[in-house]
């Protein structure tokens, strides 16, 4: 990181601090009802208290666990389904249109069906999260397989690779950028659906926490939950970027 970049980041950080101070000033001047908008000081106090007494920390863990489980499940299934579809022309012809039909369906619309089938349970939330995160993965993998350099197919044939060997040694590595991009979209999806699922099914998690805080007009607790959700999104996306950078290092040399 160059010195210039550091300076810009510091300046940018100062601007962000300025916004928080503005928020504080607005809250102190009571320009907005304190019932709706607590100052950052009160939100921060609620966040610290919630983490110290373990309540908020437990909720946070619940949400993160749901998000990661659903996401990993979806990623695994999505890559397998995508690889099967991407490496077989027959699968493309038969299942491609079906996929295109389901794709624009908002994932959350599946929630009432999941409730009808599984009740208001953890299994319901997990299946909704996994279902919603599955489609971006399938599409990304199919797209990655479709854009494998044609000459690599020839190479595979020349080397006499079996279909499985071709997938493992050529197609999967070269679709990795697409797969990782799909995993990133899936992760966002998984977080959103975990929160929605918790709200509806009253599972122990941040979604439920912010809903209950709002119902009992505990605005600082509500904002603490929202901040924690934002941090979760930010940290998980950054972690994924780091992984992406490491896994795709070979690409930079191209």
């Amino acid at each position: 990181m160059t010195a210039r970049r550091m300076l810009w980041l510091m300046a940018s950080f100062a601007v962000a601090v300025g916004f928080v101070m503005l928020w504080q000033a607005v809250a102190d001047a009571k320009l907005v009802l304190p019932l709706f908008l607590p100052g950052p000081d009160r939100a921060w106090a609620a966040l610290v208290a919630g983490i110290e007494n373990g309540i908020l920390a437990t909720k946070w863990l619940g949400t993160v666990e749901r998000m990661i489980n659903g996401w990993l499940l979806a990623s695994l299934a999505g890559i397998v389904i995508g690889a099967m579809m991407g490496s077989s022309a027959a699968a493309q012809t038969y299942f491609g249109p079906f996929l295109e039909l389901i794709r624009p369906l908002p994932a959350s619309a599946i929630i009432p069906v999941a409730i009808a089938l599984l009740g208001l349970s953890d299994a319901m939330v997990l299946s909704v999260v996994a279902f919603g995160a599955l489609w971006p993965m399938v599409l990304a993998t199919v797209h990655g397989f479709a854009s494998v350099e044609p000459r690599l197919h020839e190479v595979g044939r020349t080397l006499g690779l079996s279909r499985w060997e071709f997938i493992r040694k050529i197609a999967l590595p070269s679709s990795l950028p697409d797969i990782l991009a799909g995993m990133r979209i899936s992760l966002t999806m998984a977080l959103v659906l975990s929160v929605v699922g918790e709200m509806l099914a009253s599972r122990d998690g941040l979604g439920n926490w912010i809903l209950l805080s709002a119902r009992s007009f505990r605005a600082p607790d509500l904002f603490a939950g929202v901040i924690l959700l934002g941090v979760t999104g930010l940290v998980s996306a950054s972690l994924l970027s780091i992984v992406e950078g490491r896994l795709l290092r070979w690409r930079a040399t191209r």
């Binding site: 709706f36 069906v113 599409l139 904002f223």
Partner: protein, 258 residues
């Protein structure tokens, strides 16, 4: 979605049609009565009923209306900020931390706040959809402006264009194709957000109709609304795609992936 237009292949219809027939047969053979699932024929009947009693049309109008108003507010805001940030890199750098901290907050997490402020109904849904729409609009239009051919800016300087002339005569036309792609993606997101809010709590729209059907143990009606939501989403996307192709040709279809 591949860039090359695929020829229509009737074999692709076999799988969905086969699944439907299989589901119908399964219900007939087992004679199953279920509170959570229904055979396709009854779903179709329920769909026709919902159309006849007007609830389907009302719900569609409410959902689409909320999504479109919300996306109009959110997209214009995001577009405006995105263009300014794309043109003035120092502003972009200064706001980096602030934007990257707020952006990952899932919009749906704000709905309890919107509920406190606005109560149930349209305004709450507008607010959440707008918040969710700001980010893709901002990020994508900023990228669109930043990728405008630098020589065009030199021409603007040469012609001594003022800020507004430069924005409207040079930057916007050059970035327009990518901005339209951004609009299409954002509209899709807005529909998803609208349905999600309705399912989570709001008392209007298709999502709410689905939840009510589920709560009154009417799976046929619930599934009819699910299928309808799918049709609405698919049609909206197809319309936007067709409009985009009509305006800009097929140059951009390769960028449709996101």
């Amino acid at each position: 979605m591949s860039a090359a237009p695929r020829k229509f292949d009737g074999r692709g219809l076999l799988v969905p049609a086969g699944l439907l027939v299989l589901a119908e047969l399964a219900f007939w053979v087992t004679g199953m009565q279920s509170d959570s699932l229904a055979p396709p024929s009854r779903v179709l009947v329920a769909g026709v009923n919902a159309l006849a009693d007007g609830s389907l049309i009302l719900g569609t109008a409410q959902t689409l209306g909320s999504a479109l108003v919300g996306v109009t507010i959110g997209f214009s805001l995001g577009l405006g900020v995105g263009i300014v940030l794309g043109m003035f890199r120092f502003l972009d750098r200064l706001l980096e931390v602030a934007i990257e901290t707020i952006r990952p907050v899932p919009a749906i997490a704000l709905f309890p706040i919107a509920l406190l402020v606005f109560g149930f109904g349209y305004r709450m849904e507008f607010a959440i959809v707008a918040f969710a729409s700001v980010w893709p609009a901002l990020i994508l239009s900023r990228a669109a402006v930043a990728s405008v051919e630098p020589r065009l800016f030199e021409i603007a300087r040469l012609l001594q264009l003022g800020f507004f002339a430069r924005t409207f005569k040079i930057v916007l036309p050059a970035a327009l194709p990518r901005i339209v792609v951004a609009l299409r993606l954002t509209v899709g997101l807005a529909l998803i957000m609208a349905v999600t809010i309705e399912i989570s709590s709001n008392t209007i729209g298709l999502g709410n109709a689905m939840m009510q059907a589920q709560a009154s143990l009417d799976p046929a009606r619930m599934l009819a609304f699910l299928v309808w939501i799918g049709i609405v989403g698919w049609t909206l996307n197809a319309l936007m795609l067709a409009a985009q192709k009509r305006i800009f040709g097929s140059i951009l279809s390769g960028e449709a992936q996101l």
